[in-house]
């Protein structure tokens, strides 16, 4: 096959029976990653807001971390889209010539507004810490502390007032930002659902429930990832401290964790149950109304994608973790397993929507199978393959690691109180 003939989608699409000649799986793994990562952003923010807005005091520790983690996830939400674009260098165009009848056109605006809100909230939460750092690093010698101090000086944007009144104003502003952020986060993700739900050509996607389902599963996945990352980091720290000899502190850390985890689990379960209920409602409604598309949808859901939908998503990704979290005598290890399964379940939900929506032809007379490229042999099979997806998944952790150098979200006294 010459270069001329490499048609986007041919490499990973296998057609069965009658499929229109131009139909391929155009939206592949990166479009699975996009709502997955955006969902994590929104969910992480909602978790942090539970403390900042709704006063869930015992969530303070994890809320602080979630807020910064949400910022680390935010730029990564754009990466799958850029990797997916055929002309990535034109990725700025939705900001230059937004065409507002398109759901995607709002992406640049929504993600910018949301990013500003998250950054503003972090700034208000950490400003006092920034000022303290400038004072602390003042007399320390060395280029590194000079550089760090310079960074903090920039971060304060000249606002170095740490009087009680100023700190009080900061707290108030942070709460307002968190409150404004919740609808924005929901919009950011709900509209990702709208992108799919409004495609009237696609029988599986077209549903007004899609944005709501997306928001709920977003919150579920965001809370789950924050809890998981939080547990792993805290346990890692405790492990090293224990090796260092101060066993008392380690025990204390562990005790603090369990209450937070229990509380967060409750919110997680509540959102998960509503998400599953809505998804089932959607499924039952389609079966009951049995429109023209139902024949092919049924053959995909109950036949070709049965394992993906009912075994991997609903059973392994939903029912098993709910049982793991609800059964008495829960341990940290069991919680971790449940969280991993929940994340997997939400990922499979994204997969079953994006890939499942392209598993059948628009002619309702044939099928398309998706074969995820594993070993890349060119740029397209890397970007739209397993390694492209893993790259996207690794980025937030790298960004968080860097961010956390300057805004220590895991330190107990991060807020200086």
């Amino acid at each position: 096959m010459t270069d001329d003939m490499i048609v986007h989608g041919v490499e990973w699409t296998v057609k069965e029976l009658f499929v229109y000649p131009n139909e391929f799986i155009y939206w592949a793994i990166q479009i699975v990653m996009y709502p997955f990562v955006t969902g994590l952003v929104a969910g992480a923010f909602v978790l942090s807001s539970l403390y900042h807005v709704f006063g869930q005091k015992d969530l303070k520790d994890i809320a602080q971390f979630s807020l910064v983690f949400s910022l680390a996830l935010l730029p990564v939400a754009m990466v799958p889209l850029l990797l997916h674009l055929q002309q990535p260098l034109r990725g700025i165009e939705p900001l230059l010539t937004p065409h507002f009848t398109s759901a995607i056109a709002a992406f640049g605006i929504v993600i910018t507004v949301y990013g500003l809100i998250v950054m503003a909230e972090i700034w208000f939460v950490y400003r006092e810490y920034f000022v303290a750092q400038i004072q602390e690093l003042k007399n320390q010698p060395g280029l590194l502390s000079f550089l760090r101090r310079s960074v903090y000086r920039v971060l304060t944007i000249g606002a170095s007032d740490v009087s009680d009144a100023a700190i009080h104003a900061d707290k108030k502003a942070a709460t307002i930002m968190a409150a404004v952020g919740i609808p924005t986060a929901c919009f950011l993700h709900g509209y990702a659902g709208f992108i799919f739900g409004s495609v009237k050509a696609n029988a599986l996607w077209m549903s007004p429930l899609m944005p709501v389902i997306f928001i709920l599963s977003a919150v579920v996945s965001g809370i789950a990832l924050c809890m998981l990352t939080y547990i792993v980091i805290k346990e890692w720290q405790a492990f090293w401290r224990r090796r260092g000899g101060s066993s008392l502190e380690a025990a204390e850390i562990k005790g603090a964790e369990m209450t937070i985890i229990t509380k967060a689990s409750k919110f997680l379960l509540a959102f998960l149950v509503v998400a599953i209920a809505l998804e089932l409602l959607d499924l039952i409604f389609r079966g009951y109304t049995a429109m023209k598309s139902w024949d092919i949808l049924r053959s995909v859901m109950y036949g070709k994608d049965f394992i993906n939908i009912f075994v991997l998503q609903y059973t392994l990704g939903n029912i098993v973790p709910v049982a793991l979290l609800l059964l008495p005598g829960r341990t940290l290890r069991r919680t971790v397993l449940a969280l991993v399964l929940i994340l997997f379940g939400v990922f499979m939900m994204r997969w079953n929507v994006v890939i499942g929506g392209q598993a059948f032809s628009l002619s309702f007379s044939g099928y398309m199978h998706y074969e995820l490229p594993i070993i890349p042999h060119d740029l397209a099979t890397f970007k739209e393959g397993l390694f492209g997806a893993l790259t996207v998944m690794a980025l937030p952790f790298i960004i968080f690691w860097i961010l956390n150098k300057f805004v220590p979200s895991l330190a107990r006294d991060a807020e200086g109180s």
Binding site: D4, Y20, P21, Y26, Q86, R90, F107, K200, S365
Partner: protein
């Protein structure tokens, strides 16, 4: 000269906002271009497709690929021909190998040989972009790279399309694909470069049987328009509300 912090911030914000407006967003139009862009056109083009006349030779597909430089052997095409075989047991068999480019030479469908004795009816359906009046592809393009001319022709700006595939997903007819060379969305242009010069679209010209025709719906003396006005024509997938402008004669209910 003094400059308070407030003034400085005000000026800075203004400068930032002004410089954020890209110069490329502005285009100077000649008076003719401006008139053409807003004036009502004298034409509204549509396809008239007579499925009774199509013999499935694939010449329209060949002509389109050559005329519009869609790589000949790539498995994508701006127009195509579908073959329908409905057997006596009521089963509908459909295929369109290479978009029907090379015709249909045997009764083999997906490895199943269909006995001519079992066939109840069989026919061909030429397809392509329907140049809808309410095109979902234009609606969903996030950057406005695909648009509708005032003659109803839906076109794509190759220099502005960023290749997100949203339009491909939004088209219920499967008319769109990624061009293998240009790496942007591609579809039938109604041979805009030809019809603007008074020529026929390549597929219409190549069809020896008059199965594919072009109509100017605003010209009531146009013979194809007369057929659309006076005979019973149907469109594909009316349900989606896209108001397709490819009108079919002899469309069967089994056509997808």
């Amino acid at each position: 000269m003094t400059c308070s912090r407030r003034d400085f911030l005000k000026e800075a914000a203004g400068t930032a906002a002004a410089s954020a407006l890209p110069l490329s967003a502005f285009v100077l139009l000649s008076p003719e271009e401006a008139r053409a862009a807003v004036a009502d056109s004298k034409a509204r083009y549509a396809f008239l497709i007579d499925t009774n006349k199509c013999i499935g030779c694939g010449l329209c597909v060949k002509a389109c690929k050559i005329e519009n430089e869609v790589p000949y052997d790539a498995p994508v095409t701006r127009n195509w021909v579908e073959r329908y075989i409905i057997t006596k047991d009521g089963k509908v068999h459909i295929d369109s190998p290479m978009g029907g480019r090379d015709g249909f030479l045997d009764n083999n469908m997906y490895g199943e040989e269909i006995d001519p004795e079992d066939i109840a009816k069989t026919f061909f359906v030429p397809k392509g972009c329907n140049h809808c009046d309410n095109p979902p592809c234009v609606q969903v393009c996030p950057v406005g790279a695909t648009y509708q001319t005032n003659e109803g022709v839906v076109l794509i700006d190759r220099d502005w399309c960023m290749g997100c595939a949203y339009c491909i997903m939004a088209c219920p007819f499967g008319a769109r694909f990624f061009h293998p060379v240009h790496k942007v969305a591609d579809k039938c242009t109604f041979c805009y470069h030809r019809i603007k010069k008074g020529l026929l679209p390549a597929c219409v010209q190549a069809c020896a049987f008059g199965a594919r025709r072009i109509a100017n719906l605003k010209d009531l003396d146009d013979p194809a328009t007369k057929v659309i006005m006076t005979e019973r024509v149907a469109v594909l997938k009316d349900l989606y509300g896209t108001k397709p402008h490819a009108f079919y004669l002899g469309l069967d209910h089994d056509v997808r």
